[in-house]
C-alpha cells in the first residue's frame, strides 16, 4: 500500500523505496496464514511457557539448593526426605486417600447416575441440580461447614451419637477418624463430577441394545455387566484418571479440616509442601515435595491422552 506513494514522492531516493519494499514484505509476511495463526497463539504460548513450563524447571532448580537458596546441594533435599518417617507417612496417606476417595466417588457417581436415569425425564433436571450443589460450592468454604459438623462438643454428629448411643467420637483429633473425615469430605465434594459424566454417557448408550437384551431375557444385572459397563468403559477410565490427579493433588479440604494434623497423619503432598515451603519458609524442600506429584501426573496424563486419542479415532 505504501509502495506506490513512496515511488511517486521521491523517484530518486533508493533508500525510501527499499524501506517501502521491506515494509510491504513484512506486511505480506504478517498476512500469511501460518504467521497469523502463530500470532494468535502467541499469548497462549507466552502464558504456558512463562507461567507453567518455566516455573516447572525453576522448581527442579530450587529443589537442588540449600535452605537459604545460596548453594547447590544436589539431591541432598531428596535424600533428607527419604530418611524422614513423616515423608513416607505422607506417601502412604496420599495413596490411601486417593485410592479410597476415587473408588467411592466413582461408585457413588455411578449409582446416582443410574438412579437419576431411572426416574421420569422431566424430573431429572431438578434432582441432578440438587446433587450438583456440593461440587458447585467452593471446596474451601463448604469444608468449613464440614469442619463445624465434626466439632466434637456442640455439633450434629456427636449429638446423634451422644443421644442415641451414649458415646462420642473425636472426629478430627484422632488419626483414624481424621483420615476418615478428609476422605469422606473429598467423596462428598467429588461424586457429583462422576455423576454428570456418567449420566451424560448413559444417555448416549443406544436404547435398542437394552431392548434387544430384554427380548433375549436378560435381567437388570446382566444388562449392567454386558451392555452398560462395556459401553461406558472409556468414560469410566477417563474420569477416574482425571479424578486421580485432582485427588492426589488435593489441598483445600485437608488444609481447612486438619492442616495435616493430628501429628502430620493426614498430610498430602500439597499440604505438606505448603507447610514446609511457605509456612516454615523452606522453599527448596517445599519445591522438592511438590515435585513428587509429577510422576503420578505424568502416568495419568499418558493414559488419558491415549484414551482421548482412541476416542477421536473411533469418532
Amino acid at each position: 500500500m505504501s509502495q506506490p506513494a513512496a515511488q511517486e514522492q521521491a523517484p530518486g531516493s533508493e533508500a525510501a523505496a527499499n524501506i517501502g519494499t521491506v515494509f510491504t514484505k513484512f506486511r505480506k509476511f504478517l498476512q500469511r496464514r501460518p504467521t497469523l495463526a502463530f500470532l494468535l497463539c502467541a499469548p497462549l504460548l507466552a502464558l504456558v511457557i512463562g507461567l507453567i513450563v518455566y516455573p516447572f524447571f525453576y522448581s527442579i532448580n530450587l529443589s537442588l539448593l540449600n535452605r537459604k537458596e545460596t548453594r547447590f546441594v544436589g539431591l541432598a533435599n531428596y535424600l533428607f526426605l527419604f530418611k524422614r518417617d513423616t515423608f513416607w507417612m505422607v506417601v502412604r496417606q496420599s495413596v490411601l486417600f486417593t485410592l479410597t476417595a476415587v473408588f467411592f466417588k466413582a461408585l457413588i457417581g455411578f449409582i446416582m447416575a443410574h438412579l437419576i436415569d431411572a426416574i421420569p425425564t422431566h424430573r431429572q433436571r431438578l434432582w441432578r441440580g440438587l446433587a450438583l450443589i456440593p461440587w458447585v460450592m467452593p471446596p474451601a468454604l463448604s469444608t468449613l461447614g464440614w469442619w463445624w459438623i465434626f466439632d466434637p462438643s456442640h455439633s450434629a454428629l456427636n449429638w446423634i451419637l451422644q443421644t442415641f448411643f451414649g458415646t462420642s467420637v473425636p472426629w478430627l483429633s484422632e488419626t483414624f477418624w481424621a483420615r476418615f473425615c478428609v476422605i469422606l469430605v473429598n467423596i462428598w465434594w467429588g461424586s457429583p463430577f462422576f455423576l454428570i459424566m456418567y449420566l451424560a454417557a448413559l444417555k448416549s448408550v443406544p436404547a435398542n441394545l437394552y431392548e434387544a437384551a430384554s427380548i433375549d431375557g436378560a435381567n437388570a444385572w446382566q444388562k449392567l455387566i454386558h451392555i452398560t459397563i462395556p459401553m461406558l468403559r472409556n468414560i469410566i477410565a477417563i474420569t477416574m484418571l482425571f479424578s486421580t490427579i485432582v485427588t492426589f493433588a488435593n489441598f483445600d479440604i485437608v488444609q481447612v479440616l486438619t492442616r495435616g494434623g493430628p501429628r502430620n497423619t493426614t498430610h498430602l503432598f500439597g499440604t505438606y509442601s505448603f507447610s514446609l515451603g511457605i509456612m516454615l519458609g523452606d522453599i527448596p524442600l517445599g519445591a522438592c515435595i511438590s515435585l513428587f506429584l509429577f510422576p503420578v501426573l505424568a502416568v495419568a496424563a499418558f493414559f488419558i491422552l491415549r484414551n482421548v486419542r482412541e476416542r477421536v479415532r473411533q469418532v
Binding site: 504467521t35 495463526a37 507453567i52 516447572f56 426416574i119 450443589i133 454417557a201 474420569t239 481447612v256
Partner: protein, 290 residues
C-alpha cells in the same frame, strides 16, 4: 394368553417398585449431599447462646432466629473488602483468560502452522497440571515481580489454571462449526477478525458461556494461591479471608463463620442455578471430545 397378561402386570408392578426404590435411595444420597449446606444455613441464623448450648436438636432452630451474624459480617469485618477484591480478580481473570483462549482456539481449530498440532496436545497436558505442583516456584516468580501480597498476583496466576481448559473446549466447539460457513464468509470477502467475531463467536456462544463459567469458578473458588501469595486483609480474596479472618480463638465463632462461607459461596451457586446446562455440556464436551 393368561400367562402373558399376568407377566405384563408383573412387569408394571416391578417398574413401580423400581421407581419407588430409585426415589428412596436418591433421597438418601441427596440428604448426604445437602446436609452440610443446610446445616450451615441453620447455624448462620442461630444465636450464639443456642450454638454454644448442647440442649435441643442441633439441626433445627430452637430459639428465635437472628440476623445478627449477617449484620456483624457486613459491618464489623473485612467481608465486603474481600468480596470486592474477589470480584476484581475474577473479572480480570475471566477477561484475560477468554481473550487468550478464544484467539488461540480459533487459530488451532482452523489454521495450521509449524507445531500447531503439538501445541494443541500441550494445551491439554497443561490442563492436567494441578495447582499444588507449581505454587512454590510461582511464589518465587511473583516475589521477583514484586507482586507478593497483592491481588494482582492472582490476576497473573489464575489464567494459568483457566486458559488450558477454556482453550481446549473452545477448540472442540470451533472445530464442530461446519467449514462451509467459513467458505461462505471468505467468498463474501471477510477478514479473519470479521470471521471470528461475526461467525465463530456467535455460533460457538454455548461453548463461550461454558468456558466463562469455568474461568469464573476457578478464580472465585481458588484457595491455595491466595493463601500462599496474599497476606494482608486489604488484599485478600473471599475464600482465604473467610477461612483465616473469621476464625478466632473464641469457641462461638461458628455463626459468623457459616454466614461468611454461605455468602461467599453464593455467587457461583447462583450462576450454576441459571447456567447449569451450558456448563455441563461444556464439561462433558471438554473431557470426552478429542
Amino acid at each position: 394368553m393368561i400367562r402373558k397378561a399376568f407377566s405384563f402386570s408383573n412387569i408394571q408392578r416391578n417398574r413401580r417398585w423400581a421407581l419407588i426404590l430409585a426415589y428412596f435411595f436418591l433421597i438418601l444420597f441427596i440428604i448426604f449431599f445437602l446436609f452440610p449446606p443446610y446445616y450451615m444455613i441453620v447455624t448462620s441464623f442461630k444465636t450464639n447462646e443456642e450454638i454454644s448450648s448442647v440442649k435441643g436438636i442441633p439441626w433445627i432452630i430452637n430459639q428465635a432466629p437472628t440476623l445478627y451474624h449477617y449484620k456483624n459480617l457486613l459491618t464489623n469485618t473485612y467481608f465486603l473488602t474481600h468480596f470486592k477484591n474477589t470480584a476484581i480478580v475474577t473479572i480480570f481473570t475471566v477477561a484475560i483468560s477468554m481473550t487468550i483462549s478464544i484467539l488461540a482456539a480459533y487459530s488451532l481449530s482452523r489454521m495450521r502452522f509449524f507445531g500447531s498440532a503439538v501445541l494443541a496436545t500441550g494445551v491439554f497436558l497443561t490442563y492436567l497440571v494441578p495447582e499444588t505442583l507449581l505454587f512454590i516456584p510461582l511464589f518465587k516468580v511473583l516475589g521477583k515481580l514484586g507482586l507478593l501480597n497483592s491481588k494482582w498476583a492472582l490476576v497473573v496466576v489464575f489464567p494459568t489454571l483457566a486458559v488450558p481448559f477454556c482453550t481446549w473446549i473452545m477448540i472442540g466447539y470451533f472445530g464442530s462449526i461446519p467449514k462451509a460457513l467459513d467458505e461462505a464468509a471468505l467468498i463474501d470477502g471477510a477478514r479473519w477478525y470479521q470471521m471470528l467475531f461475526q461467525v465463530f463467536i456467535p455460533v460457538a456462544m454455548p461453548g463461550i458461556i461454558a468456558a466463562t463459567i469455568f474461568a469464573f469458578t476457578i478464580s472465585w473458588a481458588n484457595f491455595l494461591y491466595p493463601l500462599a501469595f496474599v497476606y494482608s486483609n486489604e488484599e485478600m480474596t473471599l475464600t482465604v479471608g473467610t477461612v483465616t479472618t473469621l476464625i478466632r480463638g473464641d469457641v462461638y465463632h461458628w455463626g459468623g463463620l457459616m454466614a461468611g462461607a454461605l455468602l461467599a459461596a453464593a455467587p457461583p451457586v447462583i450462576i450454576y442455578a441459571f447456567l447449569m446446562d451450558y456448563y455441563i455440556s461444556g464439561l462433558t464436551a471438554g473431557t470426552v471430545k478429542g
